[in-house]
């Protein structure tokens, strides 16, 4: 029943785009208002609540102990998960992660992992035997478009206020911390959607629902790009990708300034 509304909205969206406008009055390269609340959950080792437009996400970090991967014996681990909660949208139901939430988690994970912002070596306790594993989990409570940027902002904000628990006799000492997680680069995703030939930054809900393709660009504080993801069944031209990259480097600074 919901689907017909998006198809009908599509006409309106394109009419506006032809007049160089978006439904919510934004420019094509304008971000919606973003709000970050740090340290949202006290039980978490690090956490953040983000509201981007009306999209709301809560990210939480818990460190646990594990064994390093054989090919990186002196490094810790990072495991990322995302849940699209039934609270967030009428069509989402409780249940195991579906491809949409899995893609979301993996793309945000790559943005953070590939930036090399986490000092993974600092998470090694005993080479080849024991290390810290960072568990980063996202919960989307309200879906109003652009889950990717909202999650990466929440994830980076959460990691920035993450404390590392004390370990004694190979066990985590609850409630005691040895310092902050060494996390730099402030990696963030910037998302573009393609609607016919229009490219828009930070898609609203309507734009997300009718997109032909999307491009997620991960950038770091020092002006580098560390990950890409293209989604949707449409396509981008190489020129379009280059201009998105340039815009991503510029616009990510705005979100980064909130961190």
């Amino acid at each position: 029943m919901e689907d017909i509304y998006w198809i009908l909205q599509a006409d309106k969206v394109y009419r506006f785009l032809q007049n160089n406008k978006r439904l919510d009055g934004r420019k094509f390269d304008e971000y919606r208002k973003a709000v970050i609340v740090r340290d949202f959950s006290k039980n978490a080792d690090g956490s953040a609540y983000v509201k981007l437009g009306k999209t709301e996400v809560i990210a939480g970090v818990k460190l646990d102990l594990g064994q390093p991967y054989p090919d990186t014996p002196d490094e810790g681990g990072l495991s990322t998960g995302a849940e699209l909660l039934p609270t967030a949208s009428p069509e989402w139901e409780a249940g195991p992660p579906d491809p949409q939430s899995i893609e979301l988690a993996r793309v945000v994970d790559r943005c953070i992992r590939e930036s090399k912002g986490i000092d993974m070596k600092s998470l090694c306790i005993r080479e080849g035997e024991l290390c810290y594993v960072i568990y980063l989990d996202f919960y989307v409570t309200n879906y109003d478009g652009n889950l990717f940027d909202a999650c990466s902002l929440a994830g980076t904000a959460a990691l920035m206020n993450t404390k590392v628990p004390k370990v004694e006799n190979d066990k985590i000492v609850k409630g005691e911390y040895i310092g902050k997680l060494k996390f730099t680069k402030k990696p963030l995703l910037t998302t573009f959607v393609k609607l016919k030939n229009y490219i828009l930054l930070d898609p609203s809900l309507e734009e997300d629902k009718i997109l032909d393709a999307r491009l997620h660009v991960a950038t770091t504080e020092d002006g580098k790009i560390c990950a890409f993801q293209k989604g949707g069944s449409g396509s981008f031209t190489p020129k379009e990708i280059e201009s998105c990259v340039e815009l991503a480097l510029k616009k990510s600074k705005e979100l980064r300034s909130l961190l």
Binding site: S41, N43, A44, K62, G81, T87, P96, D137, Y139, N142
Partner: protein
């Protein structure tokens, strides 16, 4: 003297906020001590597959889930047996409050998600869920107001914290009522008590539930007093 200096019949700081999610039909966010919980309602809506629907009344589906980072030891993202049981008894608690026959053949979906916890999450979640149902415009005979009550360190107390739940003589009773008729719709206990203690806890619990009710009522009305 309680761990956090509260009187025996004093609740922690509780704040309900109604109508916070733009997509859900009804919603309520609650901060209850350290607990941070969001409750959302979708419905009444079509229940699919059709053969699972009850042709005479609505079916309440309640999902209680805790975030992995909401507890001291990271929790697996998969729902555990505890969450499934809480979901079941909570749905049953709400069923008494809702005029189910008014919406035959439908589903009323309630989803509660815990983001930070320190004891009594199920009663906080249930109280928020009741507000979310009212916010969704669903016909109810009453709200559901819930509280935890019990014994810790020799004292009979309202709204237990984790430290009190872990006391050596701890008794933890989760209780929910329809506040205007005092009908008890949720009643679960861990601990050993005498008959007299039971009556004492019931009385204290009723008092606590009614205190929660006043806060729920205020939050529901406040939504419309907010500067537009």
């Amino acid at each position: 003297m309680r761990v956090d200096g509260r009187k025996n019949d004093e609740l922690r700081k509780i704040k309900f906020e109604v109508g916070v999610l733009s997509r859900a039909d009804g919603s309520c966010y609650v901060e209850w001590g350290q607990n941070k919980i969001i409750a959302a309602v979708y419905g009444p809506r079509e229940l699919l597959p059709k053969h699972l629907a009850n042709p005479y009344r609505a079916t309440v589906r309640y999902t209680y889930r805790m975030a992995t980072f909401s507890v001291p030891d990271r929790k697996s993202p998969k729902p555990g047996r505890r969450e499934i049981e809480i979901s079941k008894v909570s749905a049953e608690a709400l069923e008494k409050a809702i005029f189910l026959e008014k919406y035959p053949n439908t589903a009323i979906d309630v989803s509660v998600q815990i983001f930070d916890s320190n004891a009594s999450t199920r009663v906080a979640a249930l109280s928020a869920a009741a507000c979310a149902l009212a916010d969704a415009g669903i016909a109810m005979r009453d709200l559901v107001s819930a509280v935890s009550v019990g014994r810790a360190n020799g004292e009979y107390v309202l709204d237990l914290r984790k430290e009190e739940e872990d006391a050596p003589d701890a008794v933890d009773l989760a209780m929910a009522i329809l506040p205007n008729t005092e009908e008890v719709v949720l009643f679960q206990m861990d601990g050993i008590i005498t008959k007299e203690e039971c009556s004492r806890l019931l009385k204290l619990g009723l008092k606590g539930c009614k205190m929660v009710y006043e806060l729920q009522k205020k939050a529901l009305k406040e939504k419309y007093m907010r500067e537009v």
